[in-house]
Amino acid sequence: MPVNKSFSSPDAAVADIFDGATIMVGGFGSFGGLPINLITALAKQGAKNLTIITNAGGVGFELSKRIKPEGYQDIGILFENGQVKKFIGSVPALGGMPPTSPIERLYNEGRVEIEMVPQGTLVERIRSGAGGLGGFYTPVGVGTVVEAGKEKKVINGKEYILELPLTADFALIKAHKADALGNLVYRGTARCFNPVVAMAARVTIVEVDKLVHPGELDPEVIITPHVYVDRIVEVSK
């Protein structure tokens, strides 16, 4: 009998996330694909000194009102709450906006550490960690601040830098549907980082629009196989 992966609420699914944990979060920007129910549950749960690995640092509720009058929540809430020690990602703060995103303010005050990683390198470091590899050589970042302190190698006459894998204690992701085993399908561009992040953590927690019985998802279109998924929460849209 397979274990029951279904959790009754986002709160229950993130209850054991501990202080100092490394957490990968799926999604891409502020919308579509961000597991916002798990993020807000983590904000409520209050774990501190977290290392967050995700593409973007979010804009936070105040700045979001400049984009949508009613405002919206994104991962910025974890920075507003002071729960994050270190951020690893490609867009900590948006360049075009006034500098009011929570992570930017904390960084300028010296209260959060940032490791800036080009987007494609970030997702590949996650895939590398997920697949048990020791890293990879990429031409991206050569001749820029990104190459500082990294091993360089010339392969077939072209310069590359060595990038190392990333893994995490927990992954928080969003999918469209799960079956009870944990097989996942996604919808539209909400797929983004989610299937990669799903594979790279000890404990992967997914929020889905709909939970169905095994057999109800076409095996030909399943993107994330169930072995990668530990906890499932169905959330209403």
Partner: protein, 220 residues
């Protein structure tokens, strides 16, 4: 009359570079506007880092679906033949040379085509997003930018002073004043905004411009 092109018009001019059947990625800001200006009779496949190939235009308010967005978090429309994939596959596509053209914004471009488009003084927490991967991986890099800073200083300069996105990656610069090609010989002034003289554009450009023998006015 002497005019500076507005952002929509710069995007319109840049979009004319997209060939029929090409795969095009559009960066944050002005480049994203190009999606609305594909010349009639051409089919362009828009690729976006989050994981979509072949979306349509920017969506109107009625069409908005936040599970169909570009890499700038803007809702876009579906188009027949559109497909989705994860971001790792998306960047395989980009680094692997399957993107024909990328449109990127810029703070500065050097005379050799070095690009600085993600960091500036006083804003150490802004990131490069997918710009570095795109600048290195795309076959052709088109920059859309304003020719000068708010203070009227050139942004096309001899050496970039802001953090680099990638070295020697820019092929074409489309600004509110000119269309400039980056060549081994230097920056070639190909087109000029209505009412402007070569001398006036040169005065707002730090490196020496090579004037194309067939220099023409930007027409739309």
């Amino acid at each position: 009359m002497k005019v500076r092109l507005d952002e929509q018009t710069i995007a319109l001019r840049a979009a004319r570079e997209f060939e029929d059947g090409s795969v095009v990625n559009l960066g944050y800001g002005m480049p994203a506007l190009c999606a609305n200006f594909i010349p009639e009779g051409r089919r362009v496949f828009f690729q976006s880092q989050n994981g979509v190939l072949g979306y349509g235009t920017l969506a109107t308010d009625e069409e908005k679906d936040y599970e169909l967005i570009n890499a700038s978090d803007q809702p876009v429309t579906p188009s027949p033949g559109m497909c989705f994939f994860d971001s790792a596959v998306s960047f395989d596509m980009i680094r692997g040379g399957h993107v024909d053209v990328v449109g990127l914004g810029a703070y500065q471009v050097s005379e050799r085509g070095d690009l600085a488009n993600w960091g500036r003084p006083g804003r150490p927490a802004t990131g490069m997003g997918g710009g570095m991967d795109l600048a290195v991986g795309a076959k052709k890099v088109i920059v859309t930018m304003l020719h000068t800073t708010k203070e009227g200083k050139p942004r096309i300069i001899k050496e970039c002073t802001y953090p680099l996105t990638a070295k020697q990656c820019v092929n074409l610069i489309v600004t509110d004043l000119a269309v400039i090609e980056v060549t081994k010989e230097g920056l070639v002034l190909k087109e000029i905004a209505p009412g402007w003289t070569v001398e006036e554009v040169q005065a707002l450009t730090e490196p020496e411009l090579i004037v194309a023998p067939d220099l023409k006015e930007i027409t739309l």
